[in-house]
Symmetry: C2
Subunit: 418 residues, 2 copies
């Protein structure tokens, strides 16, 4: 396999190359893009051995926690899944140049609003090498160039994957750039590359998101932070609440839509708090509680919650419980502390549920369901670039359509403005 631009050259050179490649990507037909994606999928599978060798080199690093190792680990099955993911993207409708609206003005001007590629998409991410492949597939399908800046712990895996994807026939030169992950300098240049990069998508923990939003001069889509809440209302079905709380907390605690906080209505707290604390402890969850929770669960393994607990995203088997006086305080607590990802109310009362759904200011708000459903596939979107926790451009799970912008094409016959 020929060594391509992606492994050599300066950050600036790669950004310039991506910017030059963008118009060529914008001109690829749907058939051309799908053809490239199918070749990419094949190339991933036929290069499984070299991908796993590169991955082994990453795994040999001694600094890895077991959670990090699991996120980083590739095996033949995971490589096949990545390839299938790329084929799935090839099967999705092409968002580029879709007509969103069309109308004629009284002066005869015909106005058409269409989707257009964004241009160059920058992705900054950590650990999981499949992000490299997913991001390339989605951005390319939408007609964009991509600049990737992965974590240094995945340097060999990401380089090998990017080499394979870039070497596929038909990929424009510069369309896929992988920046140096050994230095922070590449991040600094990327997040200030106004005029070269059109949007930046950080995919990772809060520290990464903060670093990017505090310092970027190009538009950002914030993703992935998740201090998610469940509110067990006074009218909750306790068995349903148990199932939802345990699922949202324990089914996959390391992800952003896992529950981190449990609010319980004071009218049912005396009954429900001991019950759910027992079940959480039984499931191996560390429980922290406000003073009322600690009192109600006296004798059980509950440690007092600190003020910082209400804002913390544990990303592990830990949860903090608070007793709230009413629905309004539950909503206020959530709007104060949530990262605006996913929240759920468990109740049989429709008025309480509607109030919660409407006025909890988060991307996805649930009534009687686990927060774990906030996910592109679970929503039926086909593929997901991330979960936006900001309010501009897109919110919640987003995929191909959100990797486009729009423009107005206006056709006249000599109209001038009077």
């Amino acid at each position: 396999m020929a060594t391509s631009i992606i492994t050599t050259g300066s950050t600036r050179g790669k950004l310039l190359a991506a910017s030059s490649a963008a118009p060529r990507l914008a001109r690829l037909s749907t058939a051309e893009k799908n053809g490239i994606l199918l070749l990419m999928a094949d190339a991933l599978e036929s290069n499984t051995a070299s991908i796993l060798r590169a991955n082994e080199a990453d795994l040999k690093s001694s600094e890895l926690s077991s959670a990090m190792r699991d996120r980083l680990l590739l095996n033949p099955e995971r490589v096949a899944q990545m390839a299938q993911g790329v084929r799935d993207v090839a099967g999705l409708p092409d968002p580029a140049y879709e007509t969103l609206a069309e109308w004629t003005r009284p002066n005869g001007l015909r106005i058409r609003k269409i989707r257009v590629p964004l241009g160059v998409v920058g992705v900054i991410y950590e650990s999981r090498p499949n992000v490299t492949v997913d991001s390339v597939a989605l951005t390319l399908k939408a007609g964009n160039a991509i600049v990737l800046r992965g974590g240094k712990e995945a340097v060999h895996s990401n380089r090998q994957l990017a080499e394979i994807l870039t070497s596929v026939r038909g990929v424009p030169v510069g369309a896929i750039a992988l920046l140096d992950s050994s230095t922070r300098d590449s991040v600094k240049q990327l997040i200030k590359a106004r005029g070269l990069v059109d949007v930046l998508i950080p995919r990772g923990g809060q520290a990464l998101i903060d670093q990017v939003t505090q310092n970027a001069t190009i538009p950002v889509i914030e993703t992935g932070a998740g201090n998610c809440h469940i509110f067990v209302d006074e009218f909750a079905d306790f068995e349903m609440a148990d199932c939802i709380v345990l699922n949202a907390k324990t089914q996959r605690p390391s992800v952003c839509n896992a529950a981190e906080k449990l609010l319980v209505h004071e009218r049912i707290a005396a009954e429900y708090i001991p019950r759910i604390v027992r079940k959480l402890c039984g499931a191996g969850v560390e429980v922290r509680g406000d003073s009322r929770t600690c009192r109600l669960a006296a004798g059980m393994r509950v440690t007092p919650a600190q003020p910082s607990d209400w804002d913390e995203e544990y990303l592990g088997l830990c949860i903090a419980l608070r007793v709230v006086p009413d629905l309004q305080e539950a909503i206020a607590h959530i709007n104060r502390h949530s990262t605006r990802n996913s929240e759920s109310i468990v109740t049989r009362d429709e008025a309480d549920a509607r109030e919660f759904l409407r006025f909890v200011d988060s991307a996805a708000v649930y009534w009687n369901a686990s927060t774990r459903f906030t996910d592109g596939a679970e929503f039926g979107f086909g593929a997901e670039m991330g979960i936006s926790t900001q309010k501009l451009h897109c919110r919640g799970p987003f995929g191909l359509a959100e990797l486009t912008s729009t423009k107005y094409e206006v056709v006249g016959s000599g109209q001038v403005r009077s």
Copy 2:
């Protein structure tokens, strides 16, 4: 009239108050919001005298250019227009809580995507006091709080207008904040108010936009820059081209959708350049040209264009001309130098036109029409907050709908993820 929070207190205090007001604004019904808007319109008209007195105080400043004076000037007719603008906004459909999509998943989850208010909108602007009124009307109608930071040259006018609007019955405390325009400190605090302000809309010249985008840590909608181009193709109807060029350049040269550059296909340059230069000069337009334009218009008042001319937005009666070898170079020149606002091709050739419409990367791209139509009212949108020249969230003229975000309301019956 009682003195309200808007004229006293620290920037931080005003931002906190706006943030607290946002949930109350989000709960206002359409009828309540429209009622407030109609009262605001009445209050503007019945306080015309005090508005004009305040405006006179601003106009007395000696530092004003005549263009600035014109932008700043209010008279009874302009006050009536502002009031009518507010009534027009009251008549528009309410975007808040509109259902955008609704579907049921195989597991029974019912998902609804709805528009929701953004929260707190920050607007930084210059000179024109009507921006104060327009911005308040639009943001309030969409269910948002607003933080205004106007120019110091309009301090008395803006304060008087904001006082009148804030004093209307039903406006939640803190919903409208006017920051101190005498110091840069208020801008600095506003653009870094993460967690308090949800979006920042700078409305003004390139220097203002640059200052905001370079330093803001909250999401920005860039507006208003306009280095707009007209390309007269080899297949152009010269008479139509004349009309469009003169209209786009001279009808209102101080606005962002006025043409600043004219590109001419070399096959027609020898005939068209002298013709249009004569007409432009006749219309009082200063003409700058590349070397070929200067040669072709020898003996006419054309000064050589400097490299910086191609990126400059004159905002006055000045235009720069360049001869280009073909359509591709016209598109490339525009994509290199344009601020991505509005561009137009004049041609009888549909293939050339379609190529230009599709691959010129600007918010609005025209075929045989003046660039001056890029405007919310001209597009039929009813009211306009600005013209976005960025690719995220919205592009081109934007109004009420773009002052909202979205959320997903998900209703289940105990679903958990397996």
